[in-house]
C-alpha cells in the first residue's frame, strides 16, 4: 500500500500540475473576490471565512476526476484489482494521496490568502485547524464519487452533482469554525463535528468506493 502511495505522489510531481492545479485555482478565486464585492475591508473581513472554505472546496473538487480515471484508462485498475492489495486499501490510499496533493497544500496556503481578505487575527488558528481537519473528508468523499463515475465519458459533471451535496456538512462546520474564531468565540463544537465527519468518511467510504469500483470494472 505504501508502494501505491509513493507511486501516486511521484506521478503527481512528475506529471506537473498535480500539486499546482488546485492551489492555483484557490489563489485565483480568493484574489478575484475583492474585485467582485469591492475593496471595503470590513465586508471582506466578514465574508472571508465563507470565501476561503468555498474556494478550498471547489479547488479540491477540481482534481477529483483524475483519482481513478488515469488508472482506468491505462488498464492499471484491473491489474490492481487482481493484485494482493485489497480494493478497500487501494481506495483509502487514493483518498490519502489526493489529500496530500490537494488538501495539504490548500491548508498551508490558506493563511496567506486569509491575509488578502483581511481575516481577523484571532481566526488564523481556527482556519488552519478547520482546513486540516476538514479537507481529508473532502478527499475521501470525492474518492467515493470518483469511484462511482469511473469509466463514464464526461463523468466529471455527474460526479460534481453527486459529490457537492455530500460536501455541504463539511462546508457548514468548517466555515462556522472560522467565523466563530473571527468573532473570538469558542469554535470547539464545529471542529469536533468536522473531525467526526472526517473519521466517519475514512472509516466507511473506502468500503463503499471499492464496491462501486468492483461494479464499474465488470
Amino acid at each position: 500500500m505504501i508502494a501505491l502511495l509513493r507511486r501516486d505522489l511521484t506521478l503527481a510531481v512528475r506529471a506537473g500540475g498535480g500539486f499546482g492545479l488546485g492551489l492555483a485555482f484557490f489563489l485565483i478565486v480568493v484574489v478575484l473576490v475583492p474585485f467582485g464585492v469591492g475593496p471595503e475591508a470590513a465586508v471582506l473581513s466578514r465574508i472571508a471565512p465563507g470565501i476561503l472554505w468555498v474556494a478550498a472546496l471547489l479547488a479540491a473538487l477540481l482534481s477529483l476526476d483524475r483519482i481513478f480515471a488515469l488508472d482506468f484508462e491505462d488498464g492499471t485498475l484491473p491489474l490492481l484489482a487482481t493484485s494482493p492489495l485489497p480494493l478497500e486499501g487501494v481506495t483509502l490510499i487514493k483518498g490519502i494521496a489526493h489529500w496530500i496533493t490537494t488538501g495539504l497544500p490548500l491548508t498551508l496556503a490558506a493563511p496567506a490568502l486569509g491575509f488578502l481578505l483581511n481575516l481577523e487575527m484571532s481566526a488564523y488558528v481556527w482556519l488552519l485547524a478547520s482546513l486540516a481537519l476538514g479537507t481529508p473528508a473532502l478527499s475521501m468523499i470525492g474518492t467515493f464519487g470518483a469511484a462511482l463515475t469511473v469509466g463514464l465519458r464526461r463523468g466529471g459533471l455527474l460526479m460534481s452533482l453527486l459529490v457537492l451535496p455530500l460536501y455541504v456538512p463539511t462546508l457548514i462546520f468548517g466555515a462556522e469554525a472560522v467565523r466563530r474564531g473571527a468573532l473570538g468565540l469558542d469554535a470547539t463544537t464545529p471542529l469536533l463535528m468536522l473531525a467526526g465527519i472526517t473519521l466517519g468518511s475514512f472509516a466507511l467510504l473506502p468500503f463503499a468506493a471499492s464496491s462501486a469500483l468492483r461494479v464499474n470494472l465488470r
Binding site: L4, T10, L11, D74, G75, S83
Partner: protein, 205 residues
Amino acid sequence: MNLTVTDLSVARGGAPVLSGVSFVVNAGSALVLRGPNGIGKTTLLRTLAGLQPALSGTVDVPEDAVAYASHADGIKAQLTVTENLAFWADVHGTKMPDSVFGAFDLDDLRTRLAGTLSAGQKRRLGLARLGVIGRKVLFLDEPTVSLDGFSVKMFANWLRNDHLAHGGIAVIATHVDLGIDAPELDLTPFRSTAHASGGSDEAFL
C-alpha cells in the same frame, strides 16, 4: 496445483456469450483459446481472473495465485521502466529478479521513461510485469499484439522456460502461433444460444 473450470457460462453486457465451458489445466502446462472475434475470449479470461462474476459454473483455482494481462498494460508514462516494474513487485510483495530485464530485452531501456517507448517496447514492459509478480496462474489476453517475430519468440521462451517449467499455468487467447507445446481449445462450440436470462438488469432499466 491445477486450474479446473466446470460448466462455466459467461456474459458480456448482460447477454450470455459462452456456456458450458469446461477444462482442466495442470501445473506446468498451458491452454490456448481459439475462436473468431467476438466469441467471448476476453470475457472468459476476465471471468476466470475474477473481474466479473460468472452466470453459472465454477472456477477452481488456488487463492491469490492469479494474474491477468489485457490489451492495456497498466504502464505509467511518467515512470521509468525500472520504476514501473519495481512498483508491481512492491505491490505483490516480491523481489524483482534482475533476469527479467534480459528475458524481455529491456536491458538498454532501464532508465528510459515508459512514455518514450515504442508500442512494441511498451508491450514487452507490460509482459515483463508477469515475470516480476511471481504469480503462478496467468490469464493472457492477446499477449503478442504489436510484438515483432523476434519478441514473440522471446516471450514464448520466457513462458516455456521460466514460467511453465517452474510449475506455472497459463491460459492464452491468441491468434498467432506462439510455438509452445500446448493444447488448443476452440470456443466456437460453446457459443451461447440461450436468450438473455439472469445476467441482464433489463428489468431495472
